[in-house]
């Protein structure tokens, strides 16, 4: 039962990273690829009708984590108190900048929101990566089941590491690069002309950085978290996950060159899904590894009561089937390239109704 929920929560987090990932990435490159006000409106229009639905995956994954693994929710969220609060602040700034930018036309209003949108998106990508890095590395849990990590200590992987050390920073940079590529491929797919070309060039050059960093992070992760090696030798089929990531990267390269934008974007989705599932596979059955392996939180010791988990399975599948249905309907309604003016999908986030 706990393994099922472990997989379902991982699935929801993956859905969040794939979906909100492209709008975060689009935000992170906003100022770089979109030069004119027109182009910036186009970038926003491409994510306008879907970004908050994407963010619901975060809320839903958080809620699911809460009820399936309450001890993890309590320990992890209070232990990552400061960075998590900062993530919440960044999410606030970002959401508001997307929604409020086009309300007023002024030489100070739009540039302010464009800057905030870009900066908060990029920082969120780094924070998410660092969070994943912390989970893989393990946190200073003790016998009470709690820990508290300061933002940084000495940037080394000791027994009392901070949120930021050389490893988590490295993962954070990889996350930023990967989401920049993902977002650039989205903008490439959803727009036309110079903007689309610039996004394609951005995705192409970031590809090298992502590939390089992925190899580096994979290599050091095996040293940082010994459990990864154990799992891959115990269940060799797990190698499918990193292979999925590698195949995704290959697809991005090939289809970007062939100008098959949709497949290139799918390749990037496969890459992100492969990297995430590899990490999750590597730490299983732990849900929160500890620096001292004795105190790790596992799916078994962090789970909720069996009755609740069983009942949850029933409504979870019904609810997610409905949610996937609505999301598909929305994406289909706003399919195709965006342009400004007229009815949606055109129109920036706040074109007149």
């Amino acid at each position: 039962m706990e393994t099922i929920w472990f997989c379902l929560v991982a699935l929801m987090i993956a859905a969040y990273v794939l979906l909100d990932g492209f709008d975060l990435g689009a935000g992170a490159i906003h100022l770089l690829v979109a030069k004119t006000d027109q182009e910036r409106r186009l970038v926003l229009a491409s994510i306008g009708p879907v970004w908050d639905g994407n963010e619901v995956w975060l809320i839903a994954a958080g809620g699911t984590l809460y009820f399936a693994f309450p001890a993890l929710y309590a320990s992890g969220f209070s232990g990552f108190y400061l960075p998590l609060t900062m993530v919440l602040w960044l999410l606030i700034v970002r959401g508001v900048s997307i929604e409020f930018r086009n309300h007023i036309r002024s030489a100070v209003w739009q540039p302010m929101w464009d800057f905030l949108f870009c900066a908060s998106s990029a920082l969120l990508a780094v924070f998410y990566g660092a969070a994943l890095g912390n989970v893989v590395r393990g946190v200073p849990l003790d016998g009470s089941g709690y820990f508290f990590e300061p933002l940084w200590t000495n940037f080394r992987l000791g027994d009392n590491p901070g949120i930021l050390d050389w490893y988590t920073v490295l993962v954070g940079v990889l996350a930023l690069a990967a989401l920049v590529m993902h977002g650039a491929l989205w903008v490439r797919m959803k727009t036309l002309g110079a903007l689309s070309e610039r996004a394609a060039r951005g995705a192409g050059s970031t590809w090298w950085l992502v590939a390089l960093l992925s190899i580096l992070v994979t290599w050091v992760s095996f040293h940082v978290q010994p459990n990864i090696e154990k799992n891959f030798s115990r269940w060799p089929w797990g190698v499918l996950f990193p292979l999925l990531a590698a195949a995704g990267m290959g697809a991005v390269k090939i289809y970007l060159a062939r100008k098959d934008e949709w497949k290139a974007f799918l390749g990037s989705c496969a890459y992100l899904a492969g990297m995430l599932t590899s990490a999750v596979f590597g730490v299983y059955p732990m849900v929160l590894p500890a620096r001292n392996p004795l105190y790790a939180l596992t799916a078994e010791n962090a789970k909720a009561g069996t009755y609740g988990l069983k009942i949850g399975l029933i409504w979870w599948f019904i609810g997610i089937a409905l949610a996937v249905g609505y999301s598909t309907f929305v994406y289909r309604s706003f399919a195709g390239k965006v342009n400004l003016g007229g009815d949606a999908p055109s129109g920036s986030t706040r074109e007149p109704l």
């Binding site: 908050d52 809320i59 839903a60 998590l84 508290f148 409905l322 999301s327 309604s333 706003f334």
Partner: protein, 427 residues
């Protein structure tokens, strides 16, 4: 949530009458809804995560139960609401008249369903049901329907939703009154006043009876010490009076300058003029709510405003029925000035519920002091509290500014500048 209901009302009128004014009115309120929704989303996410960051021990103990309703809220309501809001705001032409009505309806359904699931979470903390306690002290779910159909949830939800509806109605009527008083957009002004008053008078009455009344009876039965503190009743007595005004003096155990209706509290609570009502002295002090004066005032502000709302709405409905309301400037002034009051009443109502539950985090099961995050120090909590306060302050200013701008731009199809940004019309 109140505005979501009114949007469905306006879209229904548009479909039924074919009058394009209703569609334009709905678009105007949809723009305001969009601003509110964006702020609601970004300020709502922290609330879910704060269960983990700041109330870790509570989450660890009770997460298996209240996590159910919170997760269901995300999965059933937020996906529905956010998907169809996107379609409602940006897809009117694409969806057609009927499709657009459905989008409005589903946004309403999503938001009202999320209201139920979050109130059910709070209701479980007020009156826990459907649980057992495990070997390590953790609270386990034992009955899904016991949690979901908690009687406390049903009545608290109905009462909360009437508060939300009244807020939407008062704001809509106030904007309508503002247009009529300033002599602009009069067709819309009349539409907004009429809609606000018609729906508002119903909601105002339902707020008191049966929803408020039943909520009060539940508090009397399940949280009698809370009732005593809310009412400022220190002595246990038969035929207890209802305090309308007065200042509680907790150390001296009395209400100063009381303005009371004799025996009314006994009657309202037990439907008997001579019923015995327990005062605070009848309970051990460690069961008293921590902030008795604040609780007393919150409750009295809520009830006082609720009574004023009923009076204002009944008079407005009477004038509307006689078709005099659009010309009676004093009534329009009154409606306009009432706009902020439902926000205060709702806040006071929630303060009553949450202060009244103290010193319990889960009533009878877990003390608030035992629910906090053991490793989060006060210095860190202050850091985030100051950050949130500053950020929410800025958001409040932005909200007021943008809403005011939308009201100034008004419901008529808008004049746009070259880049498609609406201009404020000159009047």
């Amino acid at each position: 949530m109140g505005l979501a209901l009114l949007l469905v009302y306006l879209k229904t009128k548009a479909l039924r009458t074919g009058d394009e004014h209703y569609n334009r009115g709905a678009r105007f309120w949809a723009r305001i809804f969009g601003i509110n929704f964006a702020l609601g989303v970004v300020t709502g996410i922290p609330m879910e995560f704060q269960f983990g960051t700041n109330w870790a021990e509570f989450s660890k103990t009770a997460g298996g139960v209240i996590g159910q309703t919170l997760a269901m809220e995300g999965i059933f309501s937020f996906f529905l609401e956010s998907s169809f809001l996107g379609l409602f705001l940006y897809g009117e032409k694409r969806l057609g008249r009927i499709g657009h009505w459905w989008a409005a309806f589903l946004v309403w359904l999503g938001s009202w369903m999320s209201g139920y699931l979050i109130v059910a979470t709070d209701a479980w903390m007020q009156h826990p049901t459907g649980y057992t306690v495990g070997s390590r002290g953790e609270i386990l779910l034992s009955s899904f329907w016991g949690l979901l159909l908690n009687k406390w949830a049903v009545w608290q939800y109905a009462h909360t939703m009437m508060g939300a509806t009244q807020t939407g109605c008062f704001v809509m009527a106030a904007v309508g009154a503002f247009y009529l008083l300033t002599g602009r957009d009069e067709a819309y002004g009349r539409m907004f006043v009429k809609t606000g008053v018609l729906v508002g008078v119903t909601a105002a009455c339902l707020q008191l009876f049966p929803t408020g009344d039943l909520q009060g009876k539940m508090v009397a039965k399940e949280q009698p010490v809370t009732l005593a503190a809310m009412e400022g009743l220190f002595e246990t007595q038969q035929g207890a009076p209802l305090a309308i005004l007065g200042q509680p003096d907790v150390p001296k155990m009395r209400l100063d300058n009381p303005l009371e209706v004799p025996q009314a509290l006994s009657f309202l609570t037990y439907r008997k003029w001579n019923a015995n009502v327990q005062g605070l002295q009848g309970f051990s002090k460690d069961l008293w709510p921590d902030r008795i004066s604040l609780l007393y005032y919150s409750y009295h502000v809520m009830v006082g405003l609720g009574t004023i709302f009923i009076a204002v709405m009944l008079v407005a409905a009477f004038l509307l029925w006689h078709e005099k309301i659009y010309r009676s400037r004093w009534m329009l002034w009154l409606l306009m000035m009432c706009a902020p009051l439902p926000y205060i009443a709702n806040t006071a109502g929630w303060m009553t519920a949450e202060l009244g539950r103290q010193p319990w985090l889960i009533y009878g099961l877990m003390r608030t002091a035992n629910g906090i995050s053991p490793r989060v120090g006060a210095g860190n909590a202050w850091f985030t509290l100051i950050g949130f306060t500053g950020m929410y302050g800025v958001l409040a200013i932005l909200w007021l500014f943008l809403i005011w701008r939308e009201i100034e731009i008004g419901p008529e199809p808008r004049r746009l500048d070259a880049a498609g940004t609406p201009l404020v019309p000159e009047h």
